[in-house]
Subunit: 494 residues, 2 copies
């Protein structure tokens, strides 16, 4: 397709290539401030990042875009180019919904809030965190309200749409409603079954040795260290860009199992990024499909691969060598499939995890609608934790509503993606098993690469070229079906 035949489309690809360069710098700034930046550098960084966000926003709302997009839609394009144009238009509509001043104000408030949160969380300082969160939340509500008007949906739907194009509160209410109908009983059944199982001591391990182990396990999973690295941050994440993926984790010297599984989880995100279509780098069609699909890849790596006996057998020699860990792979499997209601979402097992999301989903809906004030969040949290998991969190803000980075940076609407992702992951597994047989058997037979190749072919290489329902249909024969998740949990835990 020469520029002569589709000049407007070519103008758009050039423009969005520029945007991707600035987003590269934004990703670097985010990663650095979470891993490397000394605290005193925060103010200037916050100002620089706000300026950058404003600039990216101005590029995505350039006055020429409306006409150029409309004209490009009349041009003769390939299927893939049309998909890219669809994603360009989506980004344009998303960006145009919110004025630049608000973007800048929210970015600044988010940086301020997050920087302070790092210490406040350590110190269980709810009184210090509350005014920052109130300030940020008023900007989030303003953003939601403005987006809602532009997209003609409800304010919370407008936030969901940032992460899951097309997803609605009503759909999630329905899906999460099904979950609520069987999950509490399943948790009780699993706990009853596991009550008589033995418990094993976990040996302590230095952070340095855990980091060495983490890098070896990432190698086993096929992480490409020529295009990425592993560092430490207070909240694990997968950042950077597709050609240079920056993973982070945190290490608990008394319990390596959490940090190790954190790395395996984030490596799932990284594999998706590293596997995105090379031909579409720098274009919207080359980006990951949605946050839930991203989460499906990290959860696949963690739940369908990482916590299974086959994979644990594969990496057990590394644990023995680097951490002098005496646990067998059967014992590790037992540890990694224990179901125990707990305070911390990121440490939760696969079965109780959705309860943490149900809580946050309800809280976010109520925060955005105004039914819940920030000041009342700790009480709301306590009530829900008591009701969903039988846990008392009164006064424990650090392990309660201050535990996650999401709200501290003003990201609402994201949490549902975690559980939607778990559902996508289960659906991928059963579809994959129809084609290549049992995942466990493949790993046991030394064919982890076959599992990864299926994901590369059916998910990663698709980028955003397909819409989510088409991607799911092509890969699995149907759109999102939460029944696979139920089957997965029952098969693994009962």
């Amino acid at each position: 397709m020469s520029a002569d035949k589709a000049p407007n489309y070519q103008t758009l690809t050039k423009h969005f290539q520029s945007i991707s360069h600035f987003e590269h710098l934004s990703a670097l700034g985010d990663w650095d401030q979470a891993t490397m930046m000394p605290i005193g550098g925060g103010e200037a960084r916050g100002a620089a990042m706000a300026e950058l966000a404003k600039h990216i926003h101005s590029l995505k709302t350039a006055p020429m875009l409306a006409d150029t997009i409309a004209q490009a839609q009349q041009e003769s394009l390939t299927l893939e180019q049309n998909a890219n144009l669809r994603e360009i238009n989506y980004q344009y509509l998303q960006a145009n919904a919110v004025p630049g001043d608000l973007v800048e104000a929210k970015t600044k408030a988010a940086y301020h809030c997050e920087q302070a949160w790092r210490d406040q969380r350590k110190n269980n300082d709810w009184q210090g965190f509350k005014p920052n969160l109130e300030n940020l939340m008023s900007l989030v509500k303003e953003e939601a309200s403005i987006r809602a008007q532009a997209l003609r949906v409800s304010p919370y739907d407008a936030l969901l749409d940032k992460f899951e194009p097309g997803m609605t509160t009503a759909s999630i209410d329905n899906i999460f409603g099904q979950l609520k109908s069987w999950l509490p009983e399943l948790i009780q059944q699993v706990q009853h079954k596991q009550a008589s199982e033995p418990r094993f001591d976990i040996p302590s391990a230095s952070a340095a040795n855990q980091a060495l182990l983490g890098r070896e396990v990432m190698q086993v999973l096929g992480f490409d260290f020529n295009h990425g690295r592993l560092d430490i941050s207070s909240h694990p994440f997968c950042g950077g860009v597709a050609s240079d993926v920056r993973l982070t984790t945190r290490y608990d010297e008394a319990d390596f199992t959490s940090g190790l599984m954190g790395i395996i989880h984030e490596t799932g995100h990284a594999k998706y990024e590293q596997g995105l279509p090379l031909a579409w780098r720098g274009q919207p069609a080359g980006l990951a499909r949605s946050m839930a699909l991203h989460e499906s890849q990290s959860l696949f790596c963690e739940m369908q691969v990482g916590r299974g006996p086959g994979f644990l057998k594969l990496i057990q020699p590394h644990l023995k060598q680097l951490l002098a860990c005496p646990l067998s792979h059967e014992q590790l499997t037992n540890i990694y499939t224990r179901v125990t209601p707990g305070h911390i979402r990121v440490d939760a097992d696969e079965v109780t995890y959705p309860c943490h999301i149900l809580l946050r989903f309800e809280a976010e809906k109520a925060l955005v609608s105004g039914e819940l004030a920030v000041a009342d969040l700790p009480d709301f949290w306590s009530t829900q934790m008591q009701s969903l998991l039988g846990i008392n969190t009164d006064g424990d803000y650090k392990n309660g509503c201050m535990q996650d980075i999401h709200w501290a940076v003003g990201e609402l609407g994201y949490f549902p993606s975690y559980t939607l992702g778990a559902m996508y992951a289960a659906q991928f597994k059963y579809a994959m098993e129809n084609q290549i047989g049992s995942v466990e058997n493949a790993i046991a037979a030394g064919k982890l690469a076959d599992v990864m190749a299926w994901l590369q072919s059916n998910v990663w290489s698709k980028g955003s070229l397909l819409e989510i329902d088409d991607l799911m249909r092509q890969a699995t024969g149907e759109t999102l079906n939460p029944a696979h998740f139920k089957r997965h949990l029952e098969n693994h835990y009962l």
Copy 2:
């Protein structure tokens, strides 16, 4: 000064504040690519940095600037505001000299050349490096020629002006001419004097322990770790921004003395950055005065402080504790004042160092004028090294013309600043000693802080509020006078 009274000046400060935010991101990208980035991330980073450079260039050449600057020059401003306006105008003139396309092309070529140079240097691969350098050099010559036309000076003067406002080839020819008239004889005298001195073995030390030592020595020098950090790169530098200074060094496990002094040197740069006037952060008047003045601060830290017996006595216990180093401070002083002609500029002693600069100055003049082709650089290098220092570098590109990062990133015109900086540093020392007495005595009396306070007051806090000659007159009573450097070397080495 309200915006009402000087609206054009206020417009300019706001505009240059934006520019400083993007320059913050540029500094971060540079630091990251030298310290953290995996090699596979280089291509996308190079493209992003080129886009950023182009954007900064477009901001510095915004069409409104010419009129706004002209009108601001008619407004009623304070002395300091006028200084800031002078620096704004300097930046505007510098940026306007070169078209955006050339800036982008050079940034891209520089990234490509530098990335490849990292491995090529290790492998002594001149044939691999040569075409990259030729490509980059043709862009440098184009830049020099365009700048020369705009500033109505010679091409090499136009490059000097990027780093030393107002400095000319003629001035440097004169100053370096004086140097040449007495330095060769001084080197011989010093070598003769030192021939009978004892030599000491340097114990090996792990990179990890050297890094711990480096951080302790930085503390002694008053480096503020709340606003900076220390990492490793193949070529030591001081990057980042004033509120978050990123030092780097490299460690030789067989000889810690070079890495340690590298850290002390870079800490001098860092102290200047951290001491720049807070009230002028983000404005051109708040930046360091010139590259030579920057170098004067690193060299002051290294030559006037770091290699002296007083300072070495202060840090000797740290060396003993962390490196199990048995050397006394007298032995360390001996090691750190040894004069030995060598291949590597950054490892050169204070006395032979200017010879490395004389060589590079002559090479750069000839490369830019076209009298010297890149292909002939190794021969030129060999001839000069033989003549200046009696060293044969035939075939040793790694330790010859490929040793420095400057040419690999297309930075010509910078090298003279090192020796001008050494001269400024000596001049500061004698001026300071007129006021607070001997630097050595101050350090011995536990008053290193007094030395730093003099620099803070007379150099760092001035930013670019004064022009270099005014700064030197206020601080030392006269403009640059190379006689102080001669006196310094004679006092220390004869």
